[in-house]
């Protein structure tokens, strides 16, 4: 969902207009306006501007790599199997990239937000989403990211990105997102 907000942010800032179509890599999610709407309701959404100045420091040189659709750092979601909190091999590069970014940018803080599908008790799902977030956080800790740069939290089934009940919808919702402070 942060990816969607980023795409929105990009479009608004018009700093990388040419890339807005490649932003469609996350487009399947972008079609769901849910999280954009949330962002507008939240006063902290003004944080886009703060990020927009770019933090530099990782040598990419062409603005904020967290927002560059060509950078792996623009990928923010780690997907999980049903009833599982194990980070699958295909998402390890994403986690490693963010771990590397955090180590190079010790002033940045990341929140790992766990999510579940819509089935069952809200509080139990909150705990299941937490377990997914902790799983990503643990991997980053092992990769050397200091504890004080990381926070694992859960949205459980409260902020469903896909609101249907198909297998594909459920798979989309079994997810942890990496969000940076101010996003």
């Amino acid at each position: 969902m942060k990816a969607i907000q980023l795409v929105l942010g990009l479009t608004l800032a018009a700093t990388l207009a040419a890339c807005s179509s490649t932003g469609g890599a996350n487009g399947a999610n972008g079609a769901n306006g849910t999280n954009g709407a949330n962002g507008q309701l939240d006063p902290s959404a003004s944080g886009y501007g703060r990020n927009g100045v770019g933090v530099g420091g990782d040598g990419s040189g062409s603005g904020d790599p967290l927002r560059d659709p060509k950078s792996i750092l623009s990928k923010r979601s780690v997907y999980f199997d049903f009833d599982s909190s194990a980070v699958k091999g295909e998402y390890k590069p994403v986690v490693e990239a963010h771990a590397g970014y955090l180590k190079k940018n010790p002033q940045r803080k990341a929140q790992i937000q766990g999510n579940t599908d819509a089935q069952g008790s809200r509080e139990y799902n909150l705990a299941l989403g937490q377990r997914r977030a902790e799983s990503v956080k643990s991997m980053m800790r092992v990769l050397g990211v200091p504890e004080n740069q990381l926070e694992a939290v859960s949205y459980g089934k409260e902020k469903l990105r896909a609101t249907g009940s198909s297998d594909a919808d459920n798979a989309e919702n079994r997810r942890a997102d990496v969000a940076y402070d101010g996003e």
Partner: protein, 426 residues
């Protein structure tokens, strides 16, 4: 002249009805158990037509959905008494009535008074009665109080019709924490947010709600005073903070924190402060609920695989498993007498309200719906409030302890979730 007045009254009533927002009416579904119900006659109270919503229609719904009464249809006997002397006892007995409630309404100086008497149909003896006076705008409160008096006179148990419920109303991206009468009417919004609100929990004295709000982009537990609207974060530790439960004396809250990694149960003072860890497992421990005597905590844990319900001392320490049947048992809530608890079991893809009896060790399903959530006992233990899904949106239901009477509460449009039944008023 009188006829013209009545016509004018009827017309204005129609206008009032037409201008009300679309809302789902209360529906009461009686599955069985008619033989055990007390049959009561409740002819319209004199002059109640002048009261918006009337009095006896509200009393009727209250008594009917309690499962303890069968209220005779208004026109079944051609006798319209408003005082005990006017009751045609043989006629009402002939229609099956065991008791007859009669009354009259008067309005004076902004105050509404309802004088009523409940008479035994066989012995013609007064069972209860009195004069209930409220501000005119609170006419529903008068009806609920009369229903409570009738319920107590007949069953010997305290009625819950004057209690309140809390729940979350979701409309699009907007969340409202609301408090309403036990029948779903008279909703008032305590908190409005663009981020989710879950898990409202009543303080034992009914003056405060604890709940989880995501307004700071993460789950944080707040305490909110109903009378003043004053609120503060009581648990906002690193990670997620959720699932508040009040201790029996209201001095502490059990909460679920993740500051040490997994989701575990802690205790915090109600004013906020240091958290003491209560549960110890490598798995998920969540959804704590204190026993009414304050000695124990029921909670959900997946320490043995799937989620099951466990019990531990209120001071923490070792836990014993309570549910063994089924592979998904969650959301425990103690009955007020501590002898049973309600919870949700998933079975064959359906999530249903259950009651586990500590004496027999048996659990029974009370509902036939399939997306039930968040069950909580009425303060007299005779009904359970829960959320389920109908037509793709959340609705509230009550079900009697025997499962035989189910009522969908009247609520305005939107997705209604996370209900919690409040305590008796003090």
């Amino acid at each position: 002249m009188l006829r013209r007045l009545l016509h004018a009254l009827a017309a204005s009533l129609l206008l009032t009805l037409a201008s009300l927002p679309a809302r789902a009416d209360m529906t009461i579904e009686i599955v069985g158990g008619g033989a055990n119900r007390h049959v009561i006659a409740l002819p319209a109270f004199a002059a109640e037509a002048g009261v918006n919503g009337g009095i006896t229609p509200i009393v009727r719904n209250d008594l009917q959905r309690s499962g303890a009464f069968n209220v005779l249809a208004p026109g079944v006997v051609a006798n319209a008494p408003s005082s005990p002397g006017e009751i045609d006892y043989p006629a009402w007995r002939g229609a099956g009535a065991m008791s007859v409630a009669v009354g009259r309404v008067s309005v004076s100086g902004g105050q509404l008074s309802v004088e009523f008497n409940l008479m035994d149909a066989a012995q013609k003896k007064r069972l209860t009665g009195g004069v209930v006076t409220v501000p005119v705008s609170d006419s529903r409160a008068a009806a609920h109080r009369i229903a409570d008096m009738i319920y107590q006179a007949i069953t010997g148990e305290r009625g819950v019709f004057s209690t309140q419920i809390a729940y979350v109303l979701r409309t699009g991206r907007s969340y409202q924490l609301q408090v309403a009468d036990a029948d779903g009417a008279g909703a008032q919004t305590l908190l409005r947010s663009g981020e989710p609100i879950i898990s409202p929990a009543w303080s034992p004295d009914g003056s405060k709600l604890a709940y989880v709000s995501f307004e700071t982009k993460k789950p944080v537990v707040y305490v909110h005073a109903l009378a003043t609207g004053a609120r503060y974060a009581v648990a906002a530790f690193k990670g997620s903070n959720s699932a508040p439960a009040w201790s029996a004396d209201g001095s502490r809250l059990a909460v679920v924190l993740t500051r040490d990694g997994g989701s575990q149960i802690y205790s915090v003072p109600v004013a906020g402060g240091e958290a003491t860890r209560l549960s110890q497992s490598a798995g998920i421990d969540t959804e704590p609920d204190y026993s009414p005597d304050g000695s124990r905590i029921l909670f959900t844990s997946d320490r043995a695989g799937g989620p099951q319900i466990y019990s531990m001392s209120a001071g923490g320490g070792g836990a014993s498993r309570v549910t063994f049947e089924g592979n998904y048992n969650v959301s425990p809530n103690f009955a007020p007498d501590g002898k049973s608890f309600t919870f949700i079991r998933r079975e064959g893809g359906r999530y249903r309200v259950m009651v586990h009896d500590f004496t027999t060790g048996q659990a029974n399903a009370l509902t036939d719906t399939s997306r039930d959530e968040s069950p909580s006992f009425a303060p007299n233990g005779k009904m359970i409030l829960f959320a389920t899904e109908q037509g793709g949106r959340g609705v509230l239901y009550t079900v009697t302890r025997d499962g035989l009477t189910k009522t969908r509460l009247a609520t305005t449009g939107g997705d209604v979730q996370e209900p919690a039944w409040g305590p008796f008023p003090r």
